[in-house]
Amino acid sequence: MTLRIKVPVAITALAAAMAISNIGCTNNPYPAGESKRNVHYLNFGEDPKSLDPTFSFTTVESNVLDVITPSYFRYHYLQQNPVRLVLNLGTKEPTRTRTPDGGEVWTFTVRKDLRFSNDVCFPESKGRAITAADFIYSWKRMADPKIGYPLTGVFEDNVIGWKEYAAAFNLDRKGMADPNYDKPFPGVTADPNDPYTFSIHLKRPYPQLRFIMAMHHTTPQAREAVEHYNDEYARHPVGCGAYKLTSYTPKQRLVLERNENAPSDIYPTEGDPGDREAGLLDDAGKQLPLTDTLVFDMVRESTSSWNLFLQGYLDETTLNANNFQQAMASNGMLSPQMQEMGIRLRRAQQSAVYYVSFNMKDPLWGGYTPEKRKLRQAISLVLDSQEFIDLALQGNGTPAQWMLPAGLFGYDNEFKHPYRTVDVERAKKLIADAGYPGGKDPKTGERLVMNIDCAAITAAARTQYGILKRQIERVGVKVEIRSTPGSIFRDKLIKGSHQSILYGWFADYPDPENFVFLLYGLNSGPGKPNYAYYENPEYDKLFEKVRDMDDSPERLTLLNQMRDMAIEDSAWIPFYHPEVVTMSHAWVANTKVHPIARDVLLYRKIDNNLRAQKQAEWNKPVWWPLFAFAGIALAGIIPGVIVVKRRVNRKLRAGGGAS
C-alpha cells in the first residue's frame, strides 16, 4: 500500500529540506564574508540618473560623485558655523583682477601631484597627470549645450565668449566628441607659461564663483574618458578623488574603492566647539579616506531600507514618516529599542527654505496696491510654522523668519518677521481693511477663495496641505487645494498660471545671493526660479549690487533693506527651514552632517568587527514557526489518509479491484 510509505517519506523529505535550508538560510543580503571587510554600506532611495560631473545635480548623485571628482575648493567638514571653503585641488586662493571695462579675471593655480584614477581609457590603463587643461576642458563641457550643465543661466551672460563658444558646438553629432573642443574658449584660458594655472574671464564681478569652484561641475575631467565612454560616461565617471568607481549595476548596486592615485589628504585637525567632546576629532591628522570601500545599494522601498537598517545590514538611514513611530519616543528622543541597539541620532538643518508664495500676476491675490498687500499679510499672520512642523514634519524643522537659513551671511538670529507671529484677530482686521470683511466679498457675499496649486500628492503631502488649509481658513477665506500631475504643475509655474504654492528652495551654495535671487524680477519666466513673479525695480537694483559684492557691512545693510521691502509686499511668506535626521549604528564614526558639502563619506569610519558581531547576534533564523506550520499541515492530512485507507479497505472487503 503506497500511502503507508508516503507519510514517513514525507517527514524524512521535510527534515532533509530543513537541514539543507539551515545551511543556506541567511538573511545577509551581501556576498558571503563581505560584511567583515572595511566596507561602508549605504543606500539610495532612487537610482542616480547620471554621474557625468557636468550634468549631475541631485544630492543622491553628489554623495557618490563628490568623493570621485573633487574640485578646487571644498567645505571644511567640521567647521560649519559658518560654513567655510578650504583649498582642495587648488594650491592657493585665486587672485582676482578688475579689468578696465568693469569685468573681472580670476586666476587659479592647481596642485601638481594630481593624477586621474587608473582606467582603461588611458594608455596602459594608467591614470595620467592632471594639468590646468583638464579644468579648462570641464568648463568647455559646461558650455556644451548637448551636455546640459544645470547652471548655464548663471554663466552664459557673464563668462566672456560663452554664448559664441556654446553656439559653435554641433548639436546633431553622435557621442561626446566635437572639433569645437580643440578650439580655445575665450572665457577660460590657460597660462602659456605655467601648465598648472588657468584664468576665468568675467564681464562683471561674480564673488560666488568661489562656490562654483567647490562643485563637482568644475572638477578636472579627462577628455580621453569622456570620448572613450561617450553616453556611458554617465555611468563611468573618472576623477582624481579619494575613491574610484569600480562597479555599477544600474538600479542595483554601486561600488567605490579607494583610489590608489589619490593625492594625499588628511582628516581636519580643528572643528566647531563640541566636536572634540563628540569624538569628531579622534581621527584628526589621519590619512583619508578612513574606509576602503563604499557600497551603495538601490533600496527603493523605504520599508525595505528601514528593515535592513534594523538588521544591521545598512550602516545608516534617514528618519522619515514611515519609520518615525518606531524610531522615536514621545519625548523627541530615540525609542528605548533603538537606544538598546546602540543607534545614534543626528539632526542638521539643511541650507534650504520652504515658503508659501503668491503669484503676483494673479488678479485676486497678486498686485502691489495696499489692499492686495493686506490680503497677503493676513495669510502670513495665520500660517503657524511651529504647528506645521510638529504635525506634518515630526518636529524636524525650524520656523523661518526670512529666506536665509542659519549659517549664511546675512542671517539674523534676532530678526522677527512683522507678519509671522500668529495673530488671527489682526489677520481678520487686515482682510476687512482689504475690502473683504469676514473673508467675504461684500458685492457677491461669497467667501474669498485662495487656490493652492500642487503636484499630485502622496498621503504625507495630503496631511501637509490639509494643515495648511485649516490654518488659512481661520481667517475666513476658503482654500482650494488644486492637485495636478507633476508635469502639469510645472507647466503652471513656468507659464505663471498658478495662484499660490507651497514650495522649497535648496541652496546650491551658501551665499545669500542664492536665496534672495528668488525674488529678482529678471528671474521670473520660463526656466527661472521666481515663481512669485515678484517684480520690484528697487529690490532688483539692490539685488544687482548685492550679487556683485563681497561680504561686508554694506552688503548686510542692503540685504536687510531688500528683506524689509519684500516683507511689506508679502508676495513670499517664509515658512520653515527643513532638517534632515539621520540614524547610524554604533559601529559608524564621524557622522557629522554638513548642510552643503556632499563629500562627507571621506571621513566616515567603520568598526567592521563590531558590525559582524552585531549582525550575527541580530539575525539568527527562527525555526519553530516552520515546524509548527509543518506539524499543523501533517495533522490535517493524517485523518484524510485514514479516510482513504478506510475507503480502500471497504472496497477490498467488498472484493473490489486492487489499486
Partner: protein, 313 residues
Amino acid sequence: MLRFVLRRLLQAIPTLLGVLTLTWFLFFGTASAESIARRNLSSKDPTPAQVQGWIKEHGYDQPPVVQLRKATVDMLMFKFGKSDATKEDIWERIRQGAGPSIMVSSTIFIGTVLGAVLVAVLAAAFRGTYIDKTTTILCVIMMSVVYTVYVIGGQYFLSKQLRYGPIWGFDPASGLFKYILVPSAIGFAAGIATEIRLYRTFLLDEISQDYVRTARAKGVSETRILAQHVLKNALIPIITNTVAVIPGLILGGLLLENFFGIPGLGSYLFEALGSNDFSVVRAMVFLGTLLYIFGLIMTDIAYAIVDPRVRID
C-alpha cells in the same frame, strides 16, 4: 500547423502597429515633449535653449508622422535605442533584467502549478469531506487578501521576523537560493489559491463525465481513476491556461521585484513611466505585446498537441 502559425504571426503585425500607435498617442497626449525634457534635464530651472536642445537631440521636434513611422520601423526591427532619461542601451537593460525576472517568476510559476494540481487533486479526491471544505475556505480567504499585503506582510514575517532570507538584494554569484526563497514563497502563497480553485473545477468537471462512471462500473480503483483518467483529461484546460502565461514570465513581477530589490524587468517599465521615459515605455510595451501574442499562439499549439480532438489548419 505551419500555415496556421504563419497566419497568426501575420495577424500579429497589425496588432503590434496598433499598440505602438496607441502608446504614442496616450503618452504624448498626457505629457508635452517640453515637460518630458524638463524632467530629464538636471537643472532645477532649465533654460528654454536647453529644453529645445534636449527635444531636438531626442528627435521629439519632428512632425508626429515622421516620429511615429521611425519609431514603429525601429521597433519592428528590434532597434530599441537608448533610454531618454539615462541614455542606457535599452536592449542591454532588457537582457540584464530578463534573467533575474525569469529566475523568480518561473520558480513561482512551476511551484504554483505543481502545488495547485496536487492540492486540487487532493480536494477532488476528498470532495465533500472536511479536507475539501477546509481547502475551499482557506482558498477563499487567501484570494481575498490583496497582493500588496502578501508582499509587505511576507517580507515582514519571513525576512524580518523569521530571517529566512534577505529583505533586499540579488547576487546569483553568492548563492541564488537565499535571494529567491522568500520572494518565491510569497508569490507562491499569493497565487496558489486561485489556481487551486480553478483546477479543482476542471477536475470535478471531468469526474462527473460518463467515462468516469464507466471506469468505476468496471471496478477501477478511485486512485487510479483520478490519476490516470481524470487528471489526464483535466490537464487539457490546465495546460491551455498556463501556457499563455509562460512568455510573460520574462517580464517578472512589479511589486515583488521592487520590494526585494530584484533587478528584473518588472520594475523597469514602472520606473520608466514614472520618469516619462518614452523610449523605454515604448520598447517595454512592444515587448509585452509581442510576448502576449506569442503566448496565445503557443496556447493554440499546445491545445492541438494535448487534445487529439482539436485540429488547426
